[in-house]
């Protein structure tokens, strides 16, 4: 009994200590007290948001918005870490400023709670609102200033870039980055236009669950395949990642199989050895690939996906994408987007 009491006291003391140190941290950071000048913007889900004139402290809820902030050169305004996967680990290793930022009190992939965000005292929070706006409501109720952004299509992404440029007062960087992305997109467009429909390689993009979970026609992955010059065999399906039977895959007989969003290895070998799929072209010709990259996804989110489109093109129609050096272009893009090259960050193709 006595022992339990002691343990409880210890835990309580620790809790108070943590609370004290974390609030202490918040106070030492600059939090402008009085901001008389206000302005209004309309965010990507149509909400009118009142914002302080000058913004120095920004928080994000998702890796889409976090990456855009770094791509616009506004990384110094971030109040916490929020870059996912191995890209985040690489940033911690390479970038002292990023490494010094506090972690949000939330697991890497979970929504940050409003309280966790209040601890870092942001002037504005970007919330990814393409699917639901509940998060915005939750943060607003806690008294945070929230801007909803989305990037499910290229146009959405351009809009998000411009909106961030407005809010963070970096119009020029926003224009530059948009131009850069558009330029990259234009180098892809039209490359496969003289390939006849029947000559287009058939591609199966499988999901993170298993090889029998495929990208539907509603998904950006399908658009990526079409932009690169291939045909998504499962484009007639609707919704997000959809289950199909193994027989269906044999019936589609794809020329290429991409294992999406998976860092797992060994799956390619398993597939190549699977007798059930041995008649599928992709298996026969060993055209099964884990979708890049090893440090962060290239099929999501935008605009990083343009690298994914180029990679698909280079893989399925190599002669049409001969001039593109994937490592070179990835290095260039990562330099623009994070300030470090793909190779420096540990990326490999």
């Amino acid at each position: 009994m006595k022992k339990t009491g002691k343990t409880i006291a210890l835990i309580l003391a620790l809790m108070i200590l943590t609370l004290y140190t974390s609030t202490g941290c918040g106070k030492t950071a600059t939090a402008p007290e009085d901001e008389p000048e206000k302005r209004f913007i309309v965010d990507q889900v149509g909400r009118k948001v009142e914002l302080p004139e000058k913004i120095e402290r920004v928080a994000t809820s998702h890796h889409f918005d976090t990456k855009l902030i770094y791509a616009l050169g506004q990384g110094d305004k971030m109040t916490h870490k929020r870059i996912s996967a191995k890209e985040g680990e690489a940033m911690e290793r390479l970038d002292a400023t990023y490494a010094a930022l506090p972690d949000l009190e939330a697991p890497e992939y979970q929504k940050a709670s409003a309280e966790a965000l209040m601890v870092v005292k942001p002037q504005v929070v970007f919330s990814y609102a393409a699917f639901d706006t509940a998060e915005i409501e939750q943060y607003t109720n806690a008294g945070l200033t929230v801007v909803g952004v989305k990037g499910e299509t290229l146009d959405d992404t351009y809009e998000a870039i411009q909106l961030m440029g407005d809010i963070l007062d970096c119009k020029k960087q926003a224009d530059d980055f948009e131009t850069y992305v558009k330029e990259k997109v234009s180098t892809i467009e039209g490359r496969a236009k003289d390939v006849k429909d029947e000559g287009k390689p058939k591609v199966l993009f499988t999901g993170p669950k298993s090889i029998y979970t495929v990208a539907t026609g509603d998904m950006f992955q399908s658009e990526m395949i079409e932009m690169a010059g291939g045909i998504n065999v499962s484009k007639e399906l609707k919704g997000r990642w959809c289950e199909v039977s193994p027989e269906q895959i044999v019936a589609w007989n794809p020329d290429y199989i991409f294992l999406g969003s998976s860092f797992g290895t060994g799956t390619v070998d398993d597939l190549l050895k699977d007798p059930a799929l041995s008649t599928v072209n992709a298996i026969k010709n060993k055209n099964v690939f884990i979708f890049p990259s090893n440090i962060g996804w290239w099929d999501f989110p935008l605009p990083q996906s343009i690298l994914g489109i180029m990679w698909i093109g280079k893989t399925v129609l190599p002669e049409k994408y001969e001039d593109i050096d994937m490592t070179e272009i990835a290095d260039e893009y990562y330099n623009r987007a994070f300030g470090y090259s793909f190779t420096e960050m540990g990326g490999k193709l």
């Binding site: 992939y109 993170p208 029998y212 289950e243 027989e247 799956t267 398993d270 007798p275």
Partner: protein, 356 residues
């Protein structure tokens, strides 16, 4: 008095006969479902093609050899393993369900009541998160955790010094809750684009992973378990009486209770380890069988096995052939099973609902 006994014996013989008729009927039904299942699917191949392929193999066939190779592979490596798995898992779930209902003396008992299914799910999720991503490791981990659940259940029951079934139910609830919480915790910390998807997909259950390689490991324990439960079902009649009644008949109640529990736990974990959680089958099939042949377990269990196999195979055949996308099998079993059971409950007489 004697009259009554004679009457009862006559009744019993009558029931036995009608049960024999029902076995034949549902045996034929199962064969019909197998035949249907062999002939339909997303890839056009039928049983006639299969014969052609066999003839081709022996050198006297007709038709295109190239296309028959592909058909043969679909038929032999995709369709048949899936049918075998459907039959085995369907009967395993329903037979274990019937055993649980008898042991727990509760018509609502199903394989997840002692936490085996939750344990197996937790084991799979744990493997996705912390162990090497090899399919066999995930299956073994899931099987072991399912089995761990039953061991814990025995161990705790032993510690309580109370042999009543209520204690087992309570322990089952505790274990289920713990494993469920552990599972949710793993899902919470997992990466939503990768691990979480795999875990939820696994938990939803599917027969897609049926390949000969997987079946070699999973089918023997399932099949042996089902056989034992079906052939040693005579003790269940007594086990479903109150403990005092059973003991007064000179039966080692505890031994038999743990025996049945252990065998069903192995069967359930083995089937969960290959196709995840498939809900409802274990609950409704025993009820339907009971409405047909009554609560006498010697008659009930074989019919339960036959019905369960036909039911799951039929549902799986429909979901894998109907549309390009596959509806998860658990959704389909609940959607079909729940209303059907409701219909039967409304139609049946009160005595037919007796589960003892």
């Amino acid at each position: 008095m004697i009259k009554d006994t004679v009457k009862e014996t006559i009744e019993d013989v009558k029931k036995e006969r009608s049960a024999g008729f029902l076995y034949i009927l549902f045996g034929v039904l199962l064969l019909a479902v197998i035949f249907l299942s062999l002939n339909v699917g997303r890839y056009p191949v039928t049983i006639i093609d299969a014969f052609n392929i066999m003839l081709n193999k022996f050198g006297f066939g007709v038709g295109n050899v190239e296309s028959s190779l592909e058909k043969g592979i679909v038929f032999w490596h995709i369709r048949i393993p899936r049918i075998v798995l459907g039959i085995c898992v369907g009967s395993a779930l329903s037979v274990s369900g019937a055993v649980m209902q008898a042991l727990f003396k509760n018509p609502l008992a199903s394989p997840d009541i002692i936490g085996v299914t939750q344990g197996a799910s937790f084991g799979a999720a744990f493997a996705f998160m912390c162990l090497p991503q090899v399919p066999i490791v995930i299956r073994i981990s899931s099987f072991l955790f399912g089995f761990l659940a039953i061991l814990l259940c025995f161990f705790l029951a032993e510690r309580v010094h109370d042999n009543s079934i209520t204690v087992l139910v309570l322990i089952g609830i505790i274990l289920s809750a713990l494993f469920q919480a552990g599972l949710s915790l793993i899902i919470y910390f997992s990466d939503p684009y990768d691990q979480m998807q795999k875990i939820t997909y696994w938990i939803m259950g599917s027969l897609q992973s049926a390949t000969w390689k997987n079946l070699i490991y999973s089918i023997p324990p399932i099949l042996v378990g089902v056989m034992i439960l079906v052939f040693l079902s005579w003790r269940l009649n007594i086990m479903s009486q109150s403990d005092e009644e059973a003991m007064s008949l000179g039966i080692n109640v505890l031994f038999w209770r743990y025996f049945y529990l252990a065998i069903s736990a192995i069967t359930i974990s083995a089937s969960a380890s290959i196709c995840g959680n498939i809900g409802w089958v274990g609950l409704i099939i025993p009820h339907i069988a009971r409405m047909l042949v009554g609560p006498e377990h010697k008659r009930l269990m074989p019919l339960t096995a036959l019905l369960g196999a036909s039911f799951l195979l039929l549902i799986d055949t429909v979901i894998r052939s109907l549309s390009t996308g596959e509806i998860p099998i658990s959704i389909a079993t609940s959607l079909v099973g729940a209303p059907f059971l409701g219909y039967l409950v409304m139609r049946s007489k009160k005595e037919a609902r007796e589960w003892r």
